[in-house]
């Protein structure tokens, strides 16, 4: 999948995260802001990269501002931002690229 326009999903509320995506420069450019970066930074990075891999996104600038989100929330926000950038809201690949 190709990021078509900048998009974001999520909030800065507790247990959530705010994910922003925009077109990359030939690679995944990941930035993370989290109060628990020392404890969970690697895990959050792993979830973000896995989710992008499932979606087939290889070229993106992605920023995550974490407020204590569970893995399932991080996945949901990354997917939410990516599909918003594609402007796709129907016929989504539940159980396929979204998993």
């Amino acid at each position: 999948m190709e990021i078509k326009k900048p998009a974001m999903a999520g909030t800065l509320e507790s247990s959530d995260c705010l994910v922003t995506v925009e077109a990359g420069e030939g690679k995944i450019d990941f930035t993370l802001d989290s109060a628990v970066i020392n404890q969970y930074g690697n895990q959050i990075r792993k979830v973000v990269y896995e989710t992008l891999e499932h979606l087939g996104v290889k070229d993106v600038k992605i920023s995550v501002v974490d407020k204590g989100a569970l893995d399932c929330t991080i996945k949901a926000r990354v997917e939410g931002a990516v599909f918003r950038s594609l402007e796709q809201k129907e016929h989504l690949p539940w159980g396929g690229a979204i998993r």
């Binding site: 399932c72 929330t73 996945k75 949901a76 926000r77 939410g80 599909f83 989504l92």
Partner: protein, 299 residues
């Protein structure tokens, strides 16, 4: 028949599917069901994001036996079809249809659910349906709605929209809801499905809430929609048979079984006249006690 169709549903707690902080651990409060809301609680520009949140919550959070019902958007919106695909793919237990006004509304959703079960490889018939009734027309069509699908396990009154349609408002006394409540319970009982009452929104009036729950319990409802964990224990206390009720029900069942064998139709238990008409009610009390986890007898 799906074995979950008649499960215990004293409390159905509404949760905004778009809020991770709400949907990550509601099982700790032990409601019988949670209602993951894609409809009114979710802002128009967050409908898409709420589905991703819902899908992964359904897939990854262990709700520890709490039933997971999803309230989809209404059939006159562009959202409901994708809501159903997402919910069924995620593994929800049931779909709640808002603003149901006819048997056809239920059949339309039934068809989409069936299609989604095939698309996502879920067993046919595994996803149940319930219908929320929110208008005068819906109340008048309650029996048709109850009988529209084998998947339908119950109907629920949505008091806010219903009172608007009736050109009145929620007073806290229940007067404005009396006709709808009575009509819906009768329709549900006639069709053999469950019936659930509307939410009570004044969280600062717990005495009023308790009175409301007592009233709908006496009217025959199976449970109540709730909006806060503080309301759960009150509903469960009122809807769970007391020890006195259980002991009496056991006596009634045992005495009717014994007396029937002796050819006696009418007799007394604890000074009360009893005949066969009391049998089903007593059995139901024991079944409810079992489902609520408070029965220790051997019937």
């Amino acid at each position: 028949m799906n074995p979950n169709k008649k499960r215990l549903r004293r409390t159905m707690m509404f949760l905004n599917a778009q809020k991770p902080g709400l949907i990550k651990d509601p099982y700790i409060y032990k409601p019988d069901s949670i209602m993951l809301d894609l409809e009114d609680a979710v802002a128009e520009n967050q409908k898409d994001a709420a589905r991703f949140s819902l899908y992964h919550a359904l897939q990854e959070i262990d709700y520890r036996g709490v039933e997971r019902v999803v309230r989809i958007n209404a059939l006159d919106t562009p959202y409901w079809k994708e809501d159903i695909r997402c919910s069924v793919a995620g593994g929800c237990d049931a779909i709640r249809i808002p603003k149901t006004e006819s048997a056809n509304d239920v059949k339309i959703v039934e068809s989409a659910v069936e299609f989604a079960e095939k698309e996502f490889g879920r067993p046919q018939g595994s996803v149940l349906i319930m219908a929320a009734i929110e208008s005068a027309r819906g109340v008048m069509k309650a029996l048709d709605i109850c009988e529209a699908s084998d998947r339908l396990f119950g109907i629920a009154l949505s008091g806010g929209d219903y009172t608007k349609d009736l050109q009145t408002h929620i007073t806290g006394t229940g007067i404005e809801l009396m006709g709808a409540r009575q009509n819906m319970v009768i329709a549900a009982r006639a069709a053999g499905v469950q019936c659930f009452d509307t939410v009570y929104t004044d969280l600062n009036n717990m005495d009023g809430f308790r009175q409301d729950v007592q009233n709908i319990h006496l009217m025959g409802f199976d449970g109540k929609s709730i909006i806060n964990p503080r309301q759960i224990q009150i509903v469960h206390d009122i809807f769970t048979p007391s020890e006195k009720d259980i002991i009496f029900a056991e006596k009634v069942v045992r005495e009717i079984d014994t007396k029937k064998a002796q050819g006696i139709g009418v007799f007394t238990v604890d000074g009360k006249m009893i005949d066969i008409a009391f049998y089903d009610g007593a059995k139901r009390t024991i079944e409810l006690a079992k489902a609520s986890g408070v029965y220790k007898g051997d019937l």
